[in-house]
Symmetry: C2
């Protein structure tokens, strides 16, 4: 089933706000068999909203709107859509009562009169209860087709999609007969291999993935490979995606560390925890970024003990015990120093695994021998230490993020 999306807000149009709802709605609807074929964004302007919704209904018979459902001046969407369906607005006493109770429950005092308009419902519309905010979603069905009117707050949109809109759209798709089709994706996450090296490995296979398509998505964390099955029955989509993933995995080998939202730090922590290891980190150019990523994982405290940010050479000597002679002979960005950092931090912190990073993140500090982007990494695990030299492209932030990722990856491969 095809539909159109209309996102509403002068802020969106002016580029002050990024339209993240649009992506969220499209993904949620694709997974229940409805395909967004056009998206239109207009300002908080009744005539423009009316135009966009009417044209969308004329083309597909199904329009979802988001935004323009606030309690005050923003309330234009509901009025515009109701008019298209010839439905007068009438106060819904049940909903008005719920609104009043909500204000009471949150201890916000009596409900302001401006919120009363939120209880005005186009006659005949289905109210989609919004337990995440005050403006309900609306489902209008009539001569022009179906219009679903959603608020603009992302959290509320997400809740309404999952609990109200998704199930109803799925039901509608089923009622329309025919086999409902969905568009589904799976992403294999790789790191430590370039996009072109991946393409060389995968290229010869690509024809065999059909009807699944493959997209290369390079990020600072590596290259994600997104497999997509388009417009198939759910069971078929899942099967062909599974087949393609199974074909791809052996080709990717150890470069693949997980799927979809999988985080490399979580993978490393899980493997360390399984062998009862304890991790410490010593950071120079990443300045805490690596520890920050590790501790972003809930439950990191079961494995991670802490670390030292040794930004200056003095601190590398005093807090990590890196011999002054090593620093003088090889420089702070060198294999002997990164190795000493990893070994020392592991020992000092009573850990069994350690990671160290030292490099030149720029924009200044590069030399012809060690240009900006030069980074030494070390991973220490139960008596064994491995090091790696990398030359990362990109700006200061990219180099630091790539460094943290590469350090985690070095340890992951030792834990394989």
């Amino acid at each position: 089933m095809d539909l159109e999306l209309v996102t509403i807000g002068t802020e969106l149009l002016l580029g002050f706000t990024i339209d993240s709802n649009a992506a969220e709605i499209a993904r949620a609807l694709a997974s229940v068999g409805a395909r967004v074929v056009r998206r239109t964004t207009v300002g908080d302007d009744p005539a423009a909203i009316t135009d966009a919704v009417r044209d969308g209904l004329a083309r597909t018979g199904f329009v979802v709107t988001t935004g323009g459902l606030g309690p005050t001046r923003d309330d234009v969407t509901k009025r515009a859509v109701a008019a298209l369906f010839g439905a007068p607005l009438v106060v819904d006493p049940v909903y008005l009562d719920q609104l009043r109770q909500r204000f009471q429950r949150l201890g916000r005092g009596p409900m302001p009169e401006s919120n009363r308009t939120q209880a005005e419902i186009p006659r005949g519309a289905i109210v989609l209860p919004n337990q995440w905010g005050t403006a309900p979603g609306l489902w209008l069905q009539g001569e022009p087709g179906v219009a679903v009117v959603l608020p603009g707050v992302p959290r509320e949109v997400r809740g309404l999609l999952e609990h109200e809109v998704g199930p109803r759209v799925q039901e509608l798709v089923a009622r329309l007969g025919g086999a409902p089709t969905v568009t589904l994706s799976r992403t294999l996450r790789t790191t430590g291999i370039t996009e072109s090296a991946l393409a060389d490995r995968i290229g010869p296979l690509e024809d065999r993935f059909a009807p699944v398509t493959l997209a290369y998505l390079p990020t600072v964390e590596g290259v994600d490979l997104r497999l997509t099955a388009w417009g198939l029955k759910r069971a078929d989509a899942e099967r062909v995606l599974g087949d393609a993933a199974e074909m791809l995995k052996p080709v990717l080998g150890e470069h693949c560390y997980g799927e979809d939202g999988c985080d490399l730090a979580a993978v490393v922590l899980a493997r360390l925890e399984r062998r009862g290891a304890r991790l410490a980190v010593a950071e120079s150019c990443t300045g805490g970024l690596l520890g920050g990523r590790i501790t972003a994982v809930p439950g990191a405290s079961r494995t991670f003990v802490g670390g030292v940010v040794a930004y200056t050479n003095d601190v590398k000597v005093s807090e990590l015990g890196v011999p002054q002679a090593l620093l003088e002979q090889h420089g702070a960005v060198s294999e002997p120093v990164v190795r000493a950092m990893a070994e020392e931090v592991t020992r000092r912190f009573g850990a069994t695994a350690g990671l160290a990073v030292t490099g030149i993140a720029g924009p200044t500090g590069g030399t012809p021998e060690k240009p900006v982007g030069t980074v030494w990494l070390a991973a220490f695990l139960e008596g064994r230490c491995e090091t790696a030299l990398r030359r990362f492209p990109g700006d200061r932030q990219h180099i630091r993020q790539r460094s943290a990722q590469a350090a985690l990856d070095l340890l992951r491969r030792m834990l394989q």
Copy 2:
């Protein structure tokens, strides 16, 4: 001058990619006097592209497209738009030569034949040189109006907007006569004060900002206040924005730490550097995030020496010298412990300023007395130590980010 924006890509429509170009283009054009009044997103489908561009031209006479200019199957936009202008595609020998040279220069070997289509230009179109990629922008002018065709890669779009499209649009606006008007914004960044407390302070003034409007934008770093002047001559817009900002600043007082893209860590480092101070950090729940933020600022090494991530109590004792008795008596999340962390890290690292954070980021670990979100902060500066207790809302990531921001803010206020 009004115009419409057409963003092209099946990936955008499906919600796999967030449409960040759209926002960038709208902002850039607003600053030279052109207003995006509608945005349409369609897939990589010639008929849909043709429809959207034709309708946009009919409504406003000016359409900017982005996406669908790649060397292979994506090349549909150029063909669709050229057809609307009745312009046949002809190979531009000068551009073809430049393309070949580019491949040579980047050492990528001979240019693949698939890139040859990028040198095909609609007859009569102006080529907008793209030094950031291979597909040039195009400026078509004719009976249907003006169409500007841009690639989809954000870096290329940004470059073309600044160097090619912006100046031409500005010139066009001027040539169309009348006073060109622009929409400009200024953002005052605040932290350490809630949105509602700000509204209480600012409310009585708000009428006096007209014609400038004010938007409250809460983030994990604080509340940004965006002032916008709509559709004025540039000089007038700048003047009324300046007036509004001057009116607002005394009301915000020390809660305001900067404007627009200003980063609090950079503000703190600059103030420390001015007095020749050296900074160290001791982090528990933020796990390195605070150091990571500080070292994201280029030149941080002039002021920042390093820090300790003391995630476990053992490390707080062994690496920071926090007395075991304090931990046992008050718990790790307490004023005496955070104070000891700040003082000790400053002393041990030979610094003159120190920051410390200890808290409960969740999702587990909360108690009735110290629920998730409880965070103690300390800032030490030249012999003086200040502490603060906060209860942050949000999830683990939000609590950690708010903690880092609040720690920096505590020190900023001491440096006032």
